[in-house]
Amino acid sequence: MNANPYLPDMATVVEVIEETPNIKSFRLVLNDEEKMRSFSFKPGQVGQLSVFGAGESTFVINSSPTRMEYLQFSVMRVGEVTTRLHQLKAGDQVGVRAPLGKPFPVEDMQGKNILFIGGGIGMAPLRTLFTYMLDTRDDYQDITLLYGARSPVDLTYQAELPDWLAREDVKTVLCVDNEYPGWEHKVGLIPNILLEMNPSPENTVAITCGPPIMIKFTLQALKKLDFADEQIITTLEKRMKCGVGICGRCNIGTQYVCLDGPVFTYAQLKELPSEL
């Protein structure tokens, strides 16, 4: 971050990956080589991406701090800024304000079983932590990933899925809502597949992110599986402008999602006024 918190660092798009029909991943390198070398963040922190002339939006840094050749952001095309982002190609210039917000409590997760439950674009914030844990694998016990999307073409990170499935040190389960020709993995809604998998809450942390409706039923499923509120971690999304706790729109009561979040345990969320 710069002394002027609104001043972005200029960055160059080095690669654009078409993940799904409406999601692209952008790999960026800060133009200032020294800044890129010393850039430091933790899994779960976010950044503001600028397309000058269109505006700025918040996205999680979904690459891992263990792999610093570039910073990766995955963007679903939904509005003005994201439409302009989707027009970018390698070599184009963007602005980056990062890192912002609080990360996943990675230190607290060491020595535990880790259960990732991602839905759709909600896989983006999980990807950073998942990749980080693969790179520091010995620090954790069993790692399980349940990742689902509406249909096979809606699954992001297709290039990485074969590796994740093939690895013996993690258990990866993929699912889609309905049967599709050629689909060899699970079929069904994420919360139902989760119940079917029946993971033990014993020494386990569950990390979930996805659309609100999926989160709602995933939380219910986790409670059914006897996960305590403190064992469930999620990361929130809100409309943000400043990203530094001033502009006043991402608050839930006294808590600012941009500053105090976006990562919250379910126990912390229950303490907040109900305004998700």
């Binding site: 002027n4 918190p5 609104y6 706790g245 502009c247 006043g248 009561g253 305004e275």
Partner: protein, 345 residues
């Protein structure tokens, strides 16, 4: 340090100041009084409270944060980013204590250990406030209920009190003391006591203060009672006049404006009573109705902010939101209703 200045000399003093610095002063025009950049020939209007406080002095309604210069592709040059930090000094004269104190609500948010908003801080540090004590509080005034009063000098550099034939000027800061060194200011003599008496009288006119101290807790207790919030917000038409008139409302939007090869990143006052304030790209909106939005506005000022910042209410009691509301929503009534509401329901 206290001095006396006649009405005519205050006009002279201000006009001379305006030749050297930017001066923002209440000026009557078209039936209303608003703060305007003082130009030669303009007369100060101290007869009534200005419609909008001089919030622009420290937080302009629209400012350029950055500009970006692009170059044609064939030039091979990369785009250039430039920050636009404000420069220069500003003197605000004739604001009421409530308007001056508005900026005190900004301070703990715009300047923290971790984050310093250089745009706000530079403007604030470059501003001098010559405040006018209120002689005749209005029925919409409630500064005495939010920890202030009609002669509160907090946040001011000089406090003026109207007396027979002119004003007693009291220096509050060294910056104010320096200004009172001007030859147009005289020894106050017995007028100092007259000022004291006038200020006491104004405070007495306001009557009993309302105790908002239980509001922080009670508003949270009312959080999930949407019937209550629907009733309170029934009249609201989501126009946002309350937010734009408010000296303490500090929420903003950031947008880009593009013209040819130059784009500007702008910061503008924003309005939490608007549906789009929290509308997300997916279509989801955590504050989807005006009841949700009124709840957040009241909660922010009387509960969340005080919780985070040592009990200080984020309202200066100026009553502008009450006066300017086209639908007659009264912030005092809403918070009091939340306070009085039975706990068991």
């Amino acid at each position: 340090m206290e001095r006396f200045i006649t009405q005519d000399n205050l006009q002279r003093f201000t006009a001379a100041l305006a030749e050297k610095k930017n001066v923002l002063a209440p000026v009557a025009s078209g039936g209303t009084t608003t703060f305007r950049r003082l130009r030669p020939g303009m007369q100060l209007d101290f007869s009534r409270m200005a419609v909008i406080s001089p919030k622009d002095a420290t937080f302009p309604r629209n400012e350029t944060l950055l500009t970006v210069q692009r170059y044609p592709e064939e030039s091979g040059k990369r785009m250039e980013l430039q920050e636009h930090l404000p420069e220069g000094e500003m003197v605000v004269i004739g604001c009421r204590p409530c308007g001056t104190r508005g900026k005190l609500v900004f301070d703990p948010v715009y300047e923290t250990l971790a984050i310093k908003d250089p745009y706000y801080i530079r403007r604030r540090d470059g501003a001098t406030f010559i405040t006018l004590a209120c002689a005749r509080p209005e029925t919409t005034c409630f500064c005495h209920s939010v920890g202030s009063g009609p002669a509160d000098a907090t946040g001011s550099d000089i406090l003026l009190t109207a007396v027979e034939g002119g004003f007693v000027a009291k220096a509050v800061t060294p910056k104010g003391e320096e200004l009172l060194g001007d030859a147009l200011f005289e020894e106050p003599g017995a007028r100092a006591e007259e000022a004291e008496r006038n200020n006491t009288k104004a405070r007495e006119m306001m009557g009993q203060a309302h105790d908002f101290s239980s509001a922080a807790e009670k508003l949270l207790k009312r959080f999930d009672d949407m019937d209550f919030w629907q009733t309170q917000s029934d009249k609201c038409i989501s126009c946002g006049a309350c937010t734009y008139m408010c000296p303490t409302c500090y929420c903003f939007n950031i947008t880009d404006d593009e013209a040819g090869l130059v784009s500007r990143r702008l910061r503008t006052w924003d309005n939490c009573m608007s549906h789009t304030f929290t509308l997300e790209g997916s279509g989801h909106n955590p504050r989807s109705t005006k009841a949700h939005r009124l709840k957040n506005r009241m909660g922010h000022k009387f509960s969340y902010y005080p919780d985070l910042h040592g009990g200080q209410i984020a309202c200066c009691g100026c009553g502008r939101c009450i006066k300017q509301c086209p639908a007659g929503v009264d912030i005092r009534q809403v918070v009091m209703a939340a306070q009085e509401y039975p706990d068991e329901r």
